[in-house]
Symmetry: C2
Subunit: 361 residues, 2 copies
């Protein structure tokens, strides 16, 4: 691979061969908080292969304002109505963006209704519930994709192409970080991301998962060992183990990973893979509004490739719809998502007992 | 602190108040390998407060060519002659740059001869020998400094000033890395850095120490816990535990550290501190020939400060000579160096048994 192909048309969708359809995938949005309103629905509006037809919410009166200006939205139903199968002829797939611990029942109902599922990360709040989700979808042959934005982010895909082509030689280390001040972004001490029962953990589950999952994606390898160190010192974090957390990982292919995440630090993110012959780094990396840069070092200085901001959620919905329309299994299936839950929960255990832990693969 | 003071006269020596002397500190160089010849002796020649008068070597015939063009060098003596006190009126201090496991006897003799000691890092090959070095110097009131280049490197000092001034808020994470392909740089499988008895370890002892020590310096805090993961897969590394090594650290002040080092990877180095209000990163960071850059992020984009290459060894010798001439205790004394040996050796133990280890402070 030469750099030419990386630095030309950097945002092309290498995964796409169907670009239009008369029969777009019709989505029911389950949960209509700010992420759905400001990110998911506009993204689907911009997409060619998907449309939003249905809102599923605890409060259908809220749905009216959400539906305003989105002609494709025809129905708003309650969670209870969803579970009873109301309006199920109006959508082909669901997008689940409720608190982590509430994902599973919606997946179960979607599976019964024979709908495909795009479920936000982390897929559930415990290993057991994530395993149950995988099992339900396998038994019912339900298509399940976990919504990792990074797998369709061009800067990350270009980095992976370079790594796969051997441009940095054999990977040796991966460093990753994602940090944000959640109490400044969402000034509510009662928010679900700080509630152990609803979230299953905070810094790791909400944002640490980006470094870990993107490392797995870039390396094409999963961790076999993890050491966790975690701290929760400030009052809003007294229900979770991880205001701050660090992960030390050993991957199947021998690479060592060093990842960190904090819910109480400056907004920052990066991922870096150092190899025997070079280094790639995406920085900033993980926030949707970032102007990403891919920094490539191959011996004679560093090349920076700037990426115009694409709509990551549009890429993700388009990819998922493309999978459904072409009968392709999504990359991030349920087992892929389960691996992250195992890594994070095992890191909590490691932090608790002070021992490195082996991971099932 | 405003950025103005950082970006103006970035290479100033904030530690210096004596800039000339009629009575420079006279050095005996112990070990005259390439580092002494190409780095240390030219650095001392450029310095204002030091001069090289004496070479100590296994082979005094080699000394002639080394002394060529350096008028201040008057004597070349063997190691045996050094230990017998030969020419000890010709030097005030020694610089020790032999293999790690051979530092202690030279320090012992220097202490007997009442000479100050600048000893290369890592200070010795085992905890016991490092402790003995500290003890010998304490009992004899010998001034001992461990030769960490980064403490007088302007890019690192400016980063520390920013951190100390609260510019990034409270530090939360520090990431560091140093990697090099040692078998390409020194194509000798029998070199001492790959010999456990002489080195006491490879990636960690030779270069991992940069990330660890610079993290300690920047944070003004020492680790209280370490988890190590190490691998030695290629044949030249079969005598040491660490062709590659990663360190997960918890510091006294609650910061988590994630450091890596490899003797078989692309030349790369960086150190990054992420805080509650900002981030500083020096990249490249640790190789003497680097054009260092300090990347400062405080919320409104990143500022890059370029540093012209200074002679790190000149800074280091000038600082040490300045300490001796002004009766100031060097920052990196024996106990400071011993802490790094403890961290590294405990990381090896952690990697071996698969448990996080507490560290004495």
């Amino acid at each position: 691979m030469d750099l030419e192909s990386i630095t030309t048309d950097v945002t092309h969708r290498d995964w796409q061969h169907v670009e239009e359809t008369d029969d777009p995938v019709r989505f029911a949005m389950i949960g209509i908080g700010w992420w759905t309103r400001e990110q998911a629905i506009p993204a689907v509006q911009s997409s060619s292969l998907a449309e939003t037809t249905t809102l599923v919410t605890s409060d259908t009166t809220k749905a009216d304002s959400v539906a305003q200006g989105v002609d494709s939205i025809k129905h708003a139903i309650t969670y209870e109505e969803f579970h009873r199968g109301a309006r199920s002829d109006a959508y082909d797939a669901v997008y689940i963006v409720t608190p982590n611990a509430k994902h599973l029942p919606f997946v179960e109902t979607a599976a019964e209704l024979n709908k495909a599922v795009l479920c936000e990360k982390p897929m559930e709040a415990t290993i057991e519930r994530a395993e149950e989700m995988v099992s339900v979808c396998e038994q019912s042959q339900t298509t399940l994709m976990i919504a990792y934005r990074m797998h369709t982010e061009p800067a990350i895909r270009r980095a992976k192409e370079l790594i796969d082509a051997g441009y940095i030689g054999e990977p040796v280390f991966v460093h990753g970080n994602m940090t944000q001040p959640i109490m400044e972004l969402i000034p509510d001490p009662d928010q679900w991301r700080l509630d152990w029962e609803l979230s299953g953990g905070s810094a790791a589950m909400d944002i640490g998962i980006y470094s870990i999952n993107t490392a797995r994606y870039l390396l094409g390898s999963d961790p076999v060992r993890v050491s966790g160190m975690a701290a929760a010192e400030s009052q809003p974090f007294d229900d979770v183990p991880d205001e701050h957390i660090s992960f030390q990982l050993e991957f199947e292919n021998g690479v060592f990973g060093l990842c960190s995440a904090s819910q109480n630090a400056h907004v920052a993110s990066h991922i870096r893979v150092t190899g025997t012959d070079g280094q790639v780094r995406v920085e900033p990396a993980f926030f949707p509004w970032d102007d990403r840069r891919l920094h490539i070092d191959h011996g004679e200085g560093t090349i920076e490739v700037e990426f115009e901001q694409i709509d990551q959620m549009e890429e993700e919905f388009e990819y998922f719809a493309h999978c459904l329309l072409t009968g392709t299994e999504p990359y991030a299936d349920g087992k892929h998502g389960l691996t992250d839950i195992r890594i994070i929960k095992t890191a909590y255990e490691s932090a608790d007992i002070g021992e490195q832990q082996k991971l099932e693969t």
